[in-house]
Symmetry: C2
Subunit: 121 residues, 2 copies
């Protein structure tokens, strides 16, 4: 059983974030006799996945819809539809990012042509 600081350090987030996740129903913790949170080892991976979903543009409500499937491995048809929606959203984001990356890349290429004296090895 891990304490909150330990989980935060391992998952690379703040202690405040973990309390916030609990507030949002994203993360459960047992309590010690004195009321301190105790986490299972699996909490670290769970938190990292939550971070990934946030990074993918989901809000905490979306994450809340997705997470039960992760834990139970079971999904209702409605949940599956949501999951597919979220995956499609991520696909669109990846496509946009790829396009933005390509544009940035071309800007860099042009920039290097115009200032070639420095990087020429």
């Amino acid at each position: 059983m891990l304490r909150i600081g330990e989980v935060a350090a391992r998952a690379g987030v703040s202690v405040r974030a973990l309390r916030y996740y609990e507030e949002q129903g994203l993360l459960e913790a047992e309590r010690s006799a004195s009321g301190q949170r105790r986490y299972a080892e699996s909490a670290v991976g769970r938190v990292q996945f939550i971070q990934q979903l946030y990074a993918a543009g989901l809000n905490s409500k979306d994450v809340l819809e997705v997470l039960p499937c992760v834990h139970t491995g079971v999904a209702t048809p409605a949940m599956l539809a949501r999951l597919v929606d979220q995956r499609d959203g991520i696909d669109r984001q990846i496509a946009e990012l790829t396009q933005a990356r390509a544009r940035l890349d071309e800007i860099i290429r042009i920039g290097q042509e115009h200032v070639p004296a420095v990087a020429a090895s």
Copy 2:
């Protein structure tokens, strides 16, 4: 010369957003005699690129650093370094998204196995 509503409609953003971009120094506009903004045709593409950069996780300050290179086609070595940094950031984001997508995908796959009676064609 386009009016603000026209640019907003074509670029798929709000009028308020365009004023905000101007406020942040991201987008310039001439003014008519009565003070109304008049945009060049190129503003539409510029706005769309700004949106892509926002979607890529850049804030307006970052965008402000990147945009001059787009317009002039010239970049100082420092600017080039920033551009490369931003591109690397986008690469990291794409990697994260791809990983999140893979995890979602597996959840969907497992979910479909557990509820096969519906989707079976």
